[in-house]
């Protein structure tokens, strides 16, 4: 049975805290956590904010909203005393509904 650490709990709390957050017309629909390695093989946690579709007539989300949600994610992580190195990014819902490799 996997041991759940305090860090795991804090990351889960971060997910809960940011899920449903809004900035302007942009809403965080889901928060994905992925443990990954960078080019130095140092571990980091990638936090992907899955955002609502861009506002009508816009090709992407307003920069101010995206950066506000990103900043709030880092601030919330600090508040939860998360020690892992974090990288916050964003995706559309569609990114998680895509066909796999070789199916395009």
């Amino acid at each position: 049975m996997a041991v759940v650490t305090r860090e795991d709990e804090a990351l889960e709390a971060l997910q809960e805290r940011m899920r449903g957050a809004r900035s302007g017309e942009v809403e965080v629909l889901d928060v994905r956590l992925d443990h990954d390695l960078d080019e130095e093989m140092d571990e980091y946690v990638r936090i992907t904010l899955v955002l609502s579709d861009p506002p009508p007539g816009r090709e992407t989300w307003p920069l101010v909203s995206v950066q506000d949600l990103t900043r709030r994610t880092y601030v919330a992580a600090d508040g939860l005393e998360i020690k892992s190195r974090l990288v916050v990014t964003r995706r559309t819902r569609e990114d998680y509904e895509e066909p796999g490799w070789g199916e395009q």
Binding site: V66, T89, T92
Partner: protein, 180 residues
């Protein structure tokens, strides 16, 4: 004929790679991967250009020296410096003591750089990397904002940013070698 690497031209190329009229659905994934990678390179080269000015000055006669020095900067050195700017311990502590308290815009610039570099690594090498046009455009916006922020910090002659630029040339490796 001038063939200088210009960050704004790279950003333009990134946008060209994300056309809206790319047929039903979306641009090809390969295009979006290249767009994300190019957006990162735009930021990387902006920082390198500014670092070479910090090292060699902005005199027109110093162009050859700046172009030579520009080839010494590595993605790895910047990544490690960026990590040191926002974390503590070991070589990071030594570098942080030289850097001093980073301007809040520098801290944000570093976060943008690290996130874009992480995206670029995955876009270039991860077969499972997936991104839509909207998300790729958002990352290109981030790159544009990072470049604007870097230019504002340079114009303001912010002390922490000037030190950051000078530390870009392998400072963390040096700190690790000297302080251990």
């Amino acid at each position: 004929m001038s063939a200088l690497i210009r960050s704004t031209e790279l950003l333009d190329v990134a946008r060209v790679l994300t056309p809206s009229a790319a047929g039903p659905g979306r641009p090809r994934t390969a295009q979006l991967r290249r767009a994300v990678s190019t957006a990162y390179y735009a930021v990387f080269h902006e920082l390198v250009v500014q670092a070479t000015v910090a090292l060699c000055g902005n005199d027109p006669q110093g162009a050859a020296a700046r172009h030579q020095a520009a080839r010494w900067f590595t993605h790895s050195d910047l990544r490690v410096l960026a990590k040191a700017t926002t974390s503590a311990g070991g070589a990071a502590r030594a570098v942080a003591s030289v850097l001093g308290s980073p301007h809040q815009d520098l801290a944000r610039l570093v976060d943008l750089f690290v996130a874009l570099q992480s995206e670029r690594y995955r876009a270039d090498y991860d077969h499972e990397y997936s991104i839509t046009r909207s998300a790729a455009l958002s990352l290109i916006d981030d790159a544009g904002d990072a470049i604007d922020t870097a230019r504002r910090l340079a114009m303001a002659r912010d002390g922490s940013y000037q030190r950051f630029l000078k530390l870009m040339l392998g400072s963390v490796k040096i700190a690790r070698m000297r302080d251990t």
